[in-house]
Symmetry: C2
Subunit: 129 residues, 2 copies
């Protein structure tokens, strides 16, 4: 029996890019990466689980911040090499900088300009360690 996970075209590192979109506002929040285990666990838990390339381990989104992404819908693209998650973003903050979304910079006259304010200071989110 074929498995839905086998239809994903993982790259050479066994990863696939995963775009998280806020199901309510439609805002694109983050682009992260998933390996097979992360995608399987995302579907099983109903919450976004990524593969952290910097920490080289599974990253249950919100595990430190509490800003979990509850899964509304999981989609696969035509080539099978990109995932789209529509989510409910807990706390309304997806970015580790304390902003709603990671895409908070906009190109304006050949410069990346920050357009989104910090909602909560990261020190308050993650604690001062």
């Amino acid at each position: 029996m074929s498995n839905w996970l086998d239809e994903v075209r993982w790259n050479e590192q066994g990863l696939v890019p995963a775009v998280a979109q806020d199901a309510a506002s439609g805002r694109v929040l983050t682009l992260a990466w998933m390996n097979r285990e992360a995608l399987a666990e995302t579907a099983r838990r109903g919450e976004a689980v990524y593969w952290s390339r910097s920490r080289n381990r599974l990253w249950r989104k919100g595990e430190e911040s509490g800003h979990v992404q509850r899964l509304v819908e999981l989609r696969l693209d035509c080539d099978g090499d990109a995932i789209l998650l529509r989510v409910e973003q807990a706390g309304g903050i997806a970015c580790h900088t304390g902003r709603e979304r990671c895409f908070y910079r906009k190109l304006d006259q050949e410069a990346w300009v920050t357009t989104d304010a910090v909602i909560t200071d990261p020190a308050a989110i993650y604690g001062k360690k």
Copy 2:
């Protein structure tokens, strides 16, 4: 003088993932890839230009189909390693299968189910060669 293109963190292949979102509907249309030249040309032309990994060349979106993506806004994420384009999608079709978006499959009970209809037969879009 620092260049906005230098702030992008290109991967080992000199590429960065680029998410295209319909500016009107908010739908996530495609995930494609850009190299430095593609991103520079996207900003200059005001239309999406990608790097085709399969064809190994610049891909001016719509060059064959006419389904260009007019640039509304270009965004960069916190880590500088993902791009978001808000676009006006010509013809209302982004996918080479003749659908509005590439993310036309949804996970439903452990199966990827096609939820979006073909708007125009690809044979009619690309011509029968």
